[in-house]
């Protein structure tokens, strides 16, 4: 009932209409609005009126233009950066230490025996190519099966158009091709005349997609040392990939052998405080303060005395000779619960030295979408993170490597030994996947695949880097050498013999610098508050306006719309009436009546309201429809009580 009443009232209001014309409305608006310009338009003389009219228009357009700029600025989501630097109690970084050599040579010797003999013989051939070497006869026959999968060859490019290919072993037994056969007598001299007159004689290796197929590529090297190293890495990778993980861990360096002494701040620690992780490049790696099971350690004092002090033994005598030529410990500082990518971010520590590393934590805190394109935890990256099996957090390196491994599995059908395996896939080896080396090299050098990975991986929003100031000194000093080696040997091996030497021992100091953090944090340059105050400022500056002024303006527009509607309706009604009246015998209205209808606004609007009611609302029998025709001729004062009653 209430609603009906309300509707009826609204209807009557509609019927009555706004009660004024456009001009009245405009003048009323100008006089009563809170915006500054319009008031002056109507207050001044014609000259000023004109000036103020244009000024108001100008200011209004200025306001809108500037608003456009402001909104654009807001939508560009700029950020401002703030930098803070100083010392605070911080989580000590996780420290990963590895030996540069992945396995003890004494442990893997039986696996690599054939390979080593092969490479020794090959080196001999390269270095002393005179046929009929006496030492060859004494040694047992070589297993050339390994060799034939990926042979090392020499290419003589003295004659640029007809390069001569010489297989290191076969060239001695059978002539390779026609060209080689023709030149057979001068073979020795060819091998030993490298790089004369700018021509190169590189050591090469052909790789075929399938055994015996023609789809082969030669990978050129300008240096035999590199060729041999690469060849050895490929071969040993293939051999070691067949060894089960437990066995590989056993073959690597054990924590108790490697970590001789440990001191964190004033508290002693030992190899048990380190978490073992198997790293494909470096074998067993040990992580201090990884924060996987226990709380991460805090450090609240700068200086070497409050940091981590380690003594490591890398036992250089037990290195695999052809696999890694650099000797030392590989270490890396990284965040808790992140995987250490030593090839990228790791540093070396040299044997026989004390390496001091001052740490500054360089943090970058970014805002996520839409301010910058970064990911908080990697869940929105379309690459399956293979490193999640280590329970480590997302990082861009993990993403890139996972992306590569996924491509590798997709294209070559097996996983690369250096990266974690997706489920249900095996590592590549020469037996099961004869063409894997070719597949891998072509994939590795494929710029397209790299770009795909770069495009699909996103960096993390919170980026932490550890800036290191590295300094080195000889350690132990000559005077202290004896007793230090003695004690350490005794502690490790329980023997009074010195089992350590300068070539294996490394001291590490890792500590926070005086200023241990530098944080660059982003904040939004334009917030909604900023936008509103800027919009208000602009409106206020040019016209003294506010939101209320906008509402006022909107009100005026609605009112003028009403006027339009009412006018249109009354016009239509007028047409209708004309037709109706033409049929009626009544005399048509006099001119004065018509004039009055137009000048007396009250009347005009009333009659205008008649039509919308009929059309917009269904006829309501409860309320008597007002007789508009009669109302029209009724005097003014009758109107008041009538409307009030409603």
């Amino acid at each position: 009932m209430n609603l009906k009443k309300y509707c009826v009232r609204a209807l009557h209001r509609l019927q009555k209409g706004p009660g004024y014309t456009y001009k009245e409305l405009l003048v009323w608006y100008c006089d009563n609005t809170n915006t500054h310009g319009p008031k002056r338009i109507i207050k001044e003389g014609p000259k000023k009126k004109l000036i103020w009219f244009f000024l108001t228009l100008l200011f209004a357009s200025l306001v809108f233009w500037q608003w456009g700029i402001l909104i654009n600025t807001y939508l560009s989501y700029n950020v401002t950066s703030s930098l803070s630097i100083g010392f605070k109690t911080m989580k000590f970084p996780a420290v990963t230490v590895c030996n540069a050599n992945p396995f003890k040579y004494s442990e893997v010797k039986h696996l690599l025996k054939e390979l080593d003999r092969l490479i020794e013989a090959a080196l001999e051939r390269i270095l002393q190519p005179t046929p009929g070497n006496s030492s060859e006869n004494a040694s047992p026959p070589l297993d050339l099966g390994l060799w034939h999968q990926i042979p090392l060859v020499l290419i003589d490019e003295h004659d640029k158009d007809n390069p001569v290919i010489l297989d290191i072993f076969e060239s001695n037994q059978t002539a390779l091709g026609n060209e080689t056969a023709g030149r057979a007598p001068s073979r020795g001299s060819l091998l030993l005349s490298p790089r004369r007159d700018g021509l190169t004689l590189p050591a090469l290796r052909p790789q075929c997609s399938h055994q015996g197929s023609d789809n082969c590529t030669y990978r050129n090297f300008t240096s035999a040392a590199q060729a041999v190293t690469e060849w050895y890495i490929l071969q040993s990778t293939s051999i070691l990939s067949k060894v089960p993980l437990q066995e590989r861990i056993r073959m690597g360096y054990q924590a108790e052998d490697m970590i001789l002494a440990c001191l964190y701040g004033a508290e002693p620690c030992n190899y048990k405080n380190f978490t073992q992780i198997y790293h494909p490049d470096h074998g067993n790696c040990y992580i201090f303060n990884w924060g996987m099971d226990e709380e991460a350690l805090n450090s609240s004092n700068p200086g070497a005395e409050f940091g981590l002090k380690l003594i490591l033994d890398i036992s250089q005598q037990d290195y695999i000779p052809y696999l890694s030529s650099a000797a030392g410990a590989r270490l890396m500082l990284h965040q808790q619960k992140s995987f250490p990518f030593l090839k990228d971010q790791g540093i070396y520590a040299m044997a026989g030295t004390e390496t001091s590393i001052g740490v500054l934590v360089d943090e970058l805190e970014r805002m996520g979408y839409p301010y910058s394109d970064c990911t908080m935890n990697g869940s929105d990256v379309p690459v399956k993170n293979l490193y999640s099996q280590y329970n480590t957090s997302y990082s861009i390196q993990a993403c890139l490597r996972s992306c590569f491994q996924n491509h590798m599995v997709e294209i070559c059908g097996c996983g690369h030994y250096m990266f974690p395996l997706p489920e249900g896939v095996n590592y590549c080896n020469n037996e099961d996947n004869p063409g894997w080396a070719y597949c891998y090299s072509s994939l590795r050098s494929s710029i397209r695949h790299r770009q795909i990975c770069i495009d699909s991986c996103k960096e993390t929003c919170n980026d932490t880097q550890y800036k290191m100031t590295i300094s080195m000194a000889d350690w132990p000093s000559e005077a202290s050498e004896d007793w230090i080696f003695h004690i350490l040997s005794y502690e490790r091996d329980m023997s009074t013999n010195v089992t350590l030497d300068r070539n294996g021992i490394i001291k590490l100091n890792i500590y926070f610098q005086e200023y241990n953090y530098r944080t660059i944090s982003e904040s939004a340059a334009t917030t909604i508050v900023w936008l509103l105050s800027s919009l208000g400022g602009q409106f206020g500056f040019w016209m003294g306006g506010s939101v209320l002024c906008l509402i006022e303006f909107g009100e005026i527009i609605i009112d003028s719309l009403w006027i339009t509607i009412i006018n249109v309706i009354s016009w239509c009604k007028g047409l209708k009436q004309k037709r109706v009246q033409a049929r009626y015998p009544d005399a048509p209205p006099t001119v004065s009546e018509l004039v009055e209808a137009h000048t007396n606004l009250g009347f005009q609007h009333e009659d205008a309201g008649a039509l919308p009611r009929d059309e917009a609302l269904p006829p309501e029998p409860g309320t008597p429809p007002p007789n508009y025709d009669s109302l029209r001729v009724q005097p003014l004062d009758v109107l008041g009580p009538d409307s009030d009653a409603e």
């Binding site: 003048v27 008031k39 790089r195 240096s223 290195y319 990228d344 070396y348 970058l364 208000g536 040019w542």
Partner: protein, 653 residues
């Protein structure tokens, strides 16, 4: 009738928009009108308030609000040119920087024998005389004999002296005679020499050749520095006379220096390196110099994908006096940048693998008026002698070289030659060393003005390096490694390589994050105006309209009122005089209610809706209790009808 259309229009405009002064007759009327009708908030209060105290408070408040606005806006203006810093990190394929590698020793000592044998001989002699050092006893005697016979001019030019601090006498090492020291004494090493030190001090004297009484004595606390500095002076002198082509031949070739090269998993060779001759370091080789138009880039971080080179450092062929350390020097720089290897190079140890992890940062500053930096260096009045893009270092070196050519007449050896100049040598410029030392001292003390002229570059690229060292080759791999590398080196050298002749270098990106630090203007005009608007609105609810009002009322209207007053006075005075002459009664002024508030003459126009309400009722009409309902609307209608203004005007007057 026959007026031109242009004139007609102007006449019409004049008629429709007549120029008239303000309606307010007096200044106080004008002010009152302004205060009542202005859009700013304080003024109205002043006029409306009752009571003196209240009015006074409102005046005070309004004035303080005006003051605050002025102050805040001034602050806003002054802080307009401030910059905000933004740091973006972009993960992307990065361009690999140029890597310049030099042997620390500039020229092969064996091939330099022809040029340096005299100098070396005398250096050895000096060592023997002062310190009793000799390489072999038998040699000494012979060389001393030789000494007397040859008699070189190295010591004539710059005598090495050993002298006692207090006696002010010095022993010339050649003649053994004591001589008096004239001129000022410069301690090159330290300004404070321990007076209790009984050690003799060694130094050398540089004299102005034109005026022999003008001498400067350079002393060193250690003979090592003295001998090296003295040797270097002569060495530069000798080198200045050798043409560039010869020097390039005397230095190391790419084959000499580079044993192996590996980049991004692929082999590379000397074709990837560009030779660059450095005056102090001889032939240097720049990897990825971009000279052939392509710049290599990396799309994978990590040590395997960077540059790996093995360098051959032939330690046996080192110059014993010029360089005392062994190894190589490298610098990572942009392709457009000049490698100032002597200033900011990193040294590489032999028998070790040096791994250098890079982190790339690009910075960009805003130039004028935000900060005093230069975009291209074109606005710096110093000619760029280097064929590379501008940097502060280049500017300082060029500036010094220019000063050197201007005041000494020849160019210093370590820097490029300006057009038309040639390097100093004491055959042609016997005075140059004295001049150089004097000039260098001025330069260091910032008296040459170079530091004032040269500005920072606005944008620069920086590769932060993390250097670490491992033993290389390891003890177990040493044997085969050296054998294979010797084979790589080929037949040129017929000896097996020693591991102290080799240096392994790895330069790689730690990650492919490019950190871009840029300054942006903190303010734009839009924001400045917004802030103005905020201030104006906060304190007085004012806007540009108010400002225009103020200008209109306080300047134009007030002025014209004053002018009109004066004019009326003058007119009155003139009329009085006239009347005095003619004897006519004065015309009474009938203006009682005037100004903008006077609705009768509010305007030349018809009254508006508002003013119409305030119109005085016609006196003759009866006073009805309620005004006729359509009175005002009728008025309103006529207010906007297109009546001719002139007729209205006529009606009003």
């Amino acid at each position: 009738g026959a007026m031109a259309p242009g004139k007609k229009i102007t006449a019409r405009i004049k008629r429709t928009l007549p120029v008239k002064g303000p309606q307010a007759p007096t200044l106080s009327e004008l002010m009152r009108w302004y205060c009542l009708n202005t859009n700013t908030h304080g003024c109205r209060r002043i006029v409306v308030s009752r009571g003196r105290l209240r009015r006074f408070i409102w005046i005070l408040l309004t004035l303080s609000a005006v003051g605050l606005i002025l102050w805040q806006c001034a602050e806003l203006l002054m802080n307009y040119y401030s910059a905000s810093v933004s740091v973006t990190v972009q993960f992307q394929k990065l361009p690999f920087p140029a890597v310049t590698i030099c042997n620390i020793n500039p020229y092969k000592y064996s091939s330099m024998k022809d040029y340096l044998s005299e100098l070396d001989k005398e250096t050895k002699k000096a060592l023997e005389t002062f310190y009793g050092f000799s390489e072999g006893k038998s040699k000494v005697r012979r060389s001393v004999d030789e000494w007397n016979s040859t008699g070189s001019d190295f010591f004539k030019q710059i005598p090495l002296l050993k002298f006692e601090e207090f006696s002010k006498t010095a022993t010339d090492f050649r003649s053994g005679q004591k001589r008096k020291i004239e001129g000022s004494v410069f301690h090159k090493d330290s300004s404070i020499v321990n007076s209790g030190d009984s050690n003799d001090i060694i130094g050398f004297q540089l004299c102005d050749a034109n005026n022999s009484s003008e001498c400067a004595l350079y002393t060193f606390s250690s003979g090592v520095n003295a001998i090296q500095e003295w040797y270097k002076l002569h060495y530069m002198n000798i080198m200045a006379q050798i043409p560039l082509e010869t020097k390039e031949k005397l230095s190391y070739s790419a084959d000499d220096l580079l044993l192996t090269c590996f980049f991004d998993g692929l082999s590379c060779d000397k074709r990837h390196f560009t030779r660059f001759h450095h005056p102090l370091h001889g032939n240097c080789y720049t990897f990825n110099s971009g000279e052939n138009g392509t710049i290599l880039s990396t799309s994978t971080g990590g040590s395997e994908y960077g540059l790996q080179v093995v360098l051959y450092i032939d330690e046996a062929d080192y110059n014993p006096f010029l360089v005392t350390s062994t190894g190589a020097k490298i610098i990572v720089h942009d392709q457009n940048e000049y490698p100032f290897i002597e200033d900011i190079g990193t040294e590489i140890e032999t028998a070790a693998a040096t791994s250098i992890g890079m982190h790339f940062t690009r910075s960009r500053k805003l130039s004028k008026p935000y900060s005093d930096c230069t975009e291209t260096g074109a606005d710096i009045p110093v000619e760029n002698l280097y064929n590379k893009s501008y940097s502060l270092q280049i500017c300082l070196h060029s500036c010094f070289q220019k000063a050197m050519v201007d005041s000494c007449g020849c160019a210093q050896y370590a820097q490029p030659l300006p057009a038309g100049a040639e390097y100093c040598n004491y055959k042609k410029n016997p005075n140059w060393m004295y001049c150089y030392y004097r000039l260098h001292e001025k330069f260091v003390k910032e008296q040459l003005g170079c530091q004032q002229i040269c500005k920072d570059a606005c944008s620069f690229k920086e590769w932060a390096l993390t250097t670490s060292i491992a033993q290389w080759p390891s003890t177990v791999s040493e044997d085969w490694m050296l054998r294979v590398l010797s084979w790589d080196k080929g037949q040129k050298i017929n000896k097996k390589l020693n591991k102290t002749d080799l240096a392994n270098l790895m330069v790689f990106y730690k990650d492919l994050n490019e950190r871009f630090i840029s300054e942006n203007p903190a303010n734009t005009l839009v924001i400045l105006l917004s802030n103005f608007g905020g201030q104006l609105g906060l304190w007085m609810s004012c806007s540009v309209v108010c400002v225009i009002e103020i200008v209109e009322v306080f300047f134009i209207d007030s002025l014209s009122i004053v002018m009109r007053r004066q004019w009326q006075k003058a007119k009155k005075w003139w009329n009085d005089r006239k009347r005095d002459r003619s004897g006519k009664p004065p015309q009474a002024s009938n203006l009682e209610r005037q100004g903008h508030d006077n609705p009768v003459c509010v305007d030349e126009d018809l009254p508006t809706f508002n003013t119409a309400l305030r119109l005085p009722l016609p006196q003759d009409s009866p006073l009805p209790r309620t005004p006729p309902p359509n009175y005002s609307t009728l008025r309103l209608e006529t207010a906007f009808t297109d009546q001719l203004p002139d007729t209205l005007e006529v009606g009003q007057h």
